[in-house]
């Protein structure tokens, strides 16, 4: 089966091409093309995954480009980590395709939507199967393209245009880091292949400083893609895209690619403490920072977006603290429950046609399936015991603690509290109380939308059991099979679980008090600490600062340069031309029509010649 694995990414690509060419004719039927062509890879991914479970890694490559004596190859690689990613990606992608069939019903550009989804799925599958850094980078950019196109799907909305542009450019800033890191690694190692790089790292061919530098540069790429500080601002804006897109790209798969990148390059990071610390600190700070913003947002999707940023920070924190398995584990569970939350949110939006949680309420009764599913997701992400998020978050906290990063550990605990709080703030405001919206008829979504949610709901509950200290550490064993992954211990102190559980329950309880019971005033913070609350509400004014400093700065600089270009660079040229014309004018003035002047000029010329010759020839000396 492995030798046919390369077909996996090509199926969605086929879907993309078919829909581009035939979309006009297929119209609504396009959805089926997209769904079938992601169903096949899903099946294949499972086959590959289970094949991998028992077998060896697989790698196949062909020459792609020759640079001097270095041959750059293109191919696929199947190892434990990426076969797991294959399953996650193709599963979520398939479910989102399915869901979109219902969600996008009636939109006239359905073929285009499914084409873009196909392109994205192709790129994401290609990314995880890449055997070398260059190929990974290429697909890395292509998933960015998919994200860009889908964020801007509602092209006529200026906000969507803005958001798409922002997403592309912000991630590109990070990509440049990856680009440089990749090139530096190439000149150190002489190859883009992961294996060669790890060999070079292991054999100490690279200096320690160079390892740190390249690792951090590669991490910059991950920062951009995974929306970590300070390049996180595009991700909330990316919510301008259709909600299924948010679920697929901006929750489950693409944004997790940054985490995947760090995980893939883990031997490189592991060789440098400074790099690991950077990853951990950025992750930890992002986790609490984004969670705090999530507390005050009013847009259902934005809350989820900040939650995603925060959770990605968690994963980074795990990786930076040596919790390789914990990071990947959380990536997996998060993919399921966050996709679930987004799809549920989409279902809500589908029903009430607004994203403002102030205009929702009491939907639990009306949305009989969405409500409970959302609740499952919320509980999972909050780390409610025995749900998937509980296990993975637990391991992250344990890894952080064991690594001795106590500051970050407590930050993570607080972030966990925030997470529980804002998720249930969301839940209570949307699903309980009275309906505050304007929509008259609120219907539950059709089965094609709820089915994927149910699947994800089941996974959100059960996915945690693949790696627990109680039932078995399947995931750790599996990931540990590849020689690349260093193992983190799973023997965490029990009190960490207890504290984490208490904290998340406290968060849920606080949310209950404020938003359900009303025992505490909602605007307690804004009344007592107005400045703090407005800072948080406005996302710490980071967007504004970026706009004022970087965007304006670049624009002013550009404008200044274009003035220089126009007036100085061209001015010099124009000046030269003007000088020529001035000289010409002067010359033609001398041509005054007086015949005697002409003779005189000749005579004076002659005398000058003679004089100069006499002087220079030494006649007078």
């Amino acid at each position: 089966m492995m030798q046919y694995a390369w077909l996996i990414p090509l199926m969605p690509l086929l879907s993309f091409i078919l829909l581009l060419l035939l979309g006009k004719k297929l119209k609504e039927a396009s959805a089926y093309v997209g769904i079938w062509l992601t169903a096949v890879p899903l099946v294949m991914s499972f086959i590959v995954f289970f094949g991998q479970w028992g077998g060896e890694s697989y790698k196949a490559e062909g020459t792609w480009l020759t640079i001097g004596h270095a041959v750059i190859t293109f191919g696929i690689e199947i190892n434990p980590l990426n076969s797991l990613m294959l399953v996650i990606v193709s599963l979520v992608s398939f479910l989102v395709h399915l869901y979109s069939k219902g969600y996008m019903n009636g939109d006239e550009r359905v073929p285009v939507f499914f084409a873009y989804l196909g392109l994205f799925t192709f790129a994401m599958l290609g990314l995880v199967m890449s055997p070398n850094l260059l190929q990974l980078y290429m697909f890395w950019e292509l998933v960015g393209l998919g994200s860009f196109l889908l964020i801007g799907y509602y092209y006529f909305k200026p906000e969507a245009r803005q958001a798409a542009k922002k997403a592309f450019i912000m991630t590109r800033i990070g990509d440049v880091g990856l680009f440089i890191g990749m090139i530096l690694l190439f000149w150190q190692v002489g190859s883009f292949e992961f294996d060669d790089i790890f060999k070079a790292v292991a054999s100490h061919e690279m200096t320690h400083a160079m390892i740190t530098l390249t690792a951090i540069l590669i991490f910059v790429g991950a920062i951009g893609k995974s929306g970590q500080l300070p390049l996180h601002t595009w991700l909330p804006d990316a919510m301008e895209g259709p909600t299924p897109v948010s679920a697929l790209i901006h929750a489950a798969t693409m944004v997790a690619a940054g985490v995947y990148l760090v995980a893939t390059m883990y031997p490189l990071f592991a060789a440098s403490t400074a790099a690991l610390t950077t990853v951990a600190v950025v992750g930890g700070v992002t986790a609490i920072f984004a969670a705090s913003i999530g507390l005050m947002q009013k847009d259902i999707k934005r809350v989820l977006a900040y939650s995603t940023v925060s959770q990605l920070g968690y994963m980074m924190l795990a990786l930076g603290s040596g919790g390789y398995v914990a990071g990947v584990f959380h990536l997996t569970t998060h993919a399921f429950f966050k996709a679930l939350l987004f799809l549920a949110a989409g279902s809500v939006i589908h029903a009430v046609h607004t994203q403002d949680i102030e205009k929702m309420g009491g939907l639990y009764r009306k949305l009989k399936r969405t409500g409970p599913l959302f609740l499952i997701g919320a509980l999972a992400i909050s780390g409610f015991p025995l749900l998937s998020g509980f296990f993975s978050k637990d391991q992250i906290l344990a890894a952080t603690y064991e690594d001795g990063r106590f500051g970050l550990f407590w930050l993570a605990i607080i972030a966990a509290f925030f997470t529980a709080f804002y998720m249930f703030r969301l839940f209570f405001m949307v699903f309980t109380g009275e309906f505050r919206g304007a929509a008259k008829e609120v219907h539950e979504s059709p089965g094609v939308m709820t089915f994927p949610m149910i699947v994800l709901g089941i996974l959100a509950v059960l996915a945690g059991y693949v790696n627990t200290s109680w039932f078995g550490t399947f995931l750790s064993d599996y990931l540990g099979k590849g020689e690349v992954a260093p193992l983190a211990s799973n023997h965490e102190p029990i009190w960490i679980s207890v504290v984490a559980t208490l904290v998340s329950l406290l968060g849920i309880f606080m949310a209950y008090l404020i938003y359900k019971k009303g025992s505490l005033s909602r605007d307690w913070l804004s009344r007592h600490l107005p400045s703090l609350s407005s800072v948080v509400y406005n996302k710490y004014y980071i967007d504004e600062v970026y706009h004022a400093v970087i965007v304006r700065g670049v624009r002013a600089f550009s404008y200044g340069w274009s003035l220089i270009d126009r007036y100085i660079v061209e001015g010099i040229v124009n000046g030269a031309v003007a000088l020529v014309h001035w000289l010409a004018k002067l010359g033609s003035k001398c041509q005054n029509g007086q015949v005697q002047t002409y003779g005189a000029v000749a005579f004076v010329g002659l005398v000058l010649l003679l004089l100069i010759f006499a002087v220079s020839g030494g006649y007078f000396s």
Binding site: G587, Y598, F603, G605, G617
Partner: protein, 502 residues
């Protein structure tokens, strides 16, 4: 001098000159004897036949070696052959041009033009063949005097009068200056024969008067620069070219200019080749910077002022000053490529400049104005004429696939062959770029502007021939330059040039 001696001369070698002389005499008599009302146009055909016969005669003698007769005053060598060829071709084309020039003038004076043109040609040919200062001078004056009259041929035309008067005054002054220089050269050597002077100047005794010698050289050079219209004696050219009838302008800018270069090379180079300078260096090397400066100044002044011209004749007058500056470069930096560079460029210049004036004559006759706007929209009106004009102008600007480019390439080669004349080549190239402005202004008028007046320009036979010959030659010399160059190398052995007849 014995009759015997006279009879012993090989008069056959003078056949081209004699044919021209004869034709001029017969024309002047015919013009005198013809009835007043009779059309003189057909005299042009006779004159043209004369030139053609002379050309044939010249070709028949191509294989001859160096022969000198008349006590070494007349010398037939490769140099004279090569340049007489230019004069004859140029004059022939101008005669064809004049045949169709009907502008304004009554027919009765046309006859004068034809025989004056022939006498001017005779003067030029004598210059090419002279080996003596006196005959050189007489040839020069024959050319000059005929040209003065031709410039003022339109007696009723104020501009023509004024041009002629300016020409004669400046010409007189230049003659005096030239002669003044020559008198010192004679004084220092006591000889008038060029090769005898060469010999005498090579003698070390001349070293007592080295300064005087250089002065004499510079004075003569400045005097002669009148003929080629370069700095400092260039200012008359625009006015005279402007005022004179177009065929005369063409003659002045092509044949007369070529003759000026001939006398310069013949006289200054032969006589001063062995002369010592003030410092250790030979004289010719010592004056190089001065000549180079003058050449550079000509290019700069010509090309700059041409930018401001609205009158097409004046524009090409300034252009011809610049062109003369280019041709002066190989002379200023004397190298092994000098003769072929000068000769080839003059040949190219002959075709392209006569071509230009042929078309100017056509177009301005149609519009009645010599303003550049008469060319507006020419491409729409008469595309072929516009294309031909474009080819000529591109050639003057030195674009490849035209004769002008090969000519310029040769000049560059000679400028850069012997050491540090990069700055001169630099000036040449920079002013060439400046010249694009006005050359392409003409092209722009023809192609980009819309026509101000409707009407196709019709081409009479004579001008058609001239244009066709010029276009074909310009292109052939540009694409297959070896046709001319090999002819030059095979037929003309210029090593004869510096050595006296045995």
């Amino acid at each position: 001098m014995e009759l015997e001696t006279i009879r012993s001369y090989d008069w056959g070698i003078m056949a081209p000159e004699l044919i021209i002389l004869g034709a001029a005499t017969i024309l002047s008599l015919a013009d005198l004897l013809m009835p007043k009302k009779a059309s003189r146009r057909y005299l042009a055909i006779f004159a043209f036949l004369g030139v053609a016969c002379a050309l044939v005669a010249l070709f028949m003698q191509l294989d001859n070696g160096v022969i000198s007769i008349l006590a070494d005053t007349y010398r037939f060598d490769s140099f004279s052959k090569a340049f007489k060829l230019l004069f004859l071709i140029g004059t022939g084309l101008i005669l064809l041009l004049a045949f169709d020039d009907r502008k304004g003038e009554r027919d009765e004076y046309r006859g004068e033009f034809y025989y004056l043109l022939l006498t001017a040609l005779l003067g030029a040919m004598m210059m090419a063949s002279s080996a003596d200062m006196i005959t050189l001078f007489v040839g020069l004056e024959l050319l000059s005097l005929s040209s003065y009259i031709m410039a003022g041929l339109r007696k009723r035309d104020r501009q023509s009068n004024e041009a002629a008067f300016k020409y004669v005054v400046n010409g007189g002054i230049s003659t005096a200056i030239t002669l003044f220089g020559m008198s010192y050269i004679f004084g220092l050597t006591g000889e008038t024969n060029l090769y005898a002077i060469q010999n005498a100047l090579g003698d070390p005794t001349i070293l007592q008067n080295q300064f005087l010698l250089v002065f004499a050289f510079l004075i003569t050079f400045v005097g002669l620069s009148f003929k080629i219209a370069t700095v400092p004696f260039q200012m008359w050219a625009p006015d005279v070219y402007h005022g004179a009838p177009i065929p005369v302008t063409a003659f002045l800018s092509v044949v007369s200019k070529a003759a000026g270069f001939v006398i310069m090379i013949r006289f200054l180079l032969v006589t001063f080749i062995a002369a010592p300078g003030v410092a250790e260096k030979p004289l010719l090397q010592e004056v190089q910077p001065y000549l180079a400066i003058l050449a550079g100044a000509s290019m700069i002044i010509g090309n700059l002022i041409a930018l401001r011209q609205r009158n097409i004749k004046r524009m090409f007058a300034y252009s011809s000053i610049a062109q003369a500056g280019y041709i002066l470069v190989p002379f200023a930096v004397i190298s092994g490529l000098m003769f072929e560079a000068v000769w080839f460029y003059l040949l190219a210049y002959l075709f392209m400049n006569i071509g230009v004036f042929a078309i100017i004559q056509l177009v301005t006759a149609k519009s009645g104005s010599t303003d550049i706007s008469s060319f507006a929209g020419l491409y729409r009106r008469s595309p072929w004429i516009a294309v031909c004009m474009t080819i000529f102008v591109l050639s003057l600007a030195g674009f490849p696939a035209t004769a002008g480019f090969i000519g310029k390439f040769g000049i560059f080669m000679s400028a850069l062959s012997t050491g540090a004349h990069y700055w001169l080549a630099g000036i040449m190239i920079a002013t060439t770029v400046v010249s694009y402005f006005y050359y392409f202004n003409v092209i722009g008028q023809m192609f980009f502007r819309s026509e101000e007046e409707a009407g196709k320009v019709s081409i009479p036979g004579g001008v058609l021939t001239v244009t066709a010959v010029c276009v074909i030659s310009t292109l052939v010399l540009g694409i297959l330059p070896h046709t001319a160059l090999e002819f030059f190398y095979n037929q003309f052995d210029l090593s004869q040039f510096f050595t006296p007849t045995k």
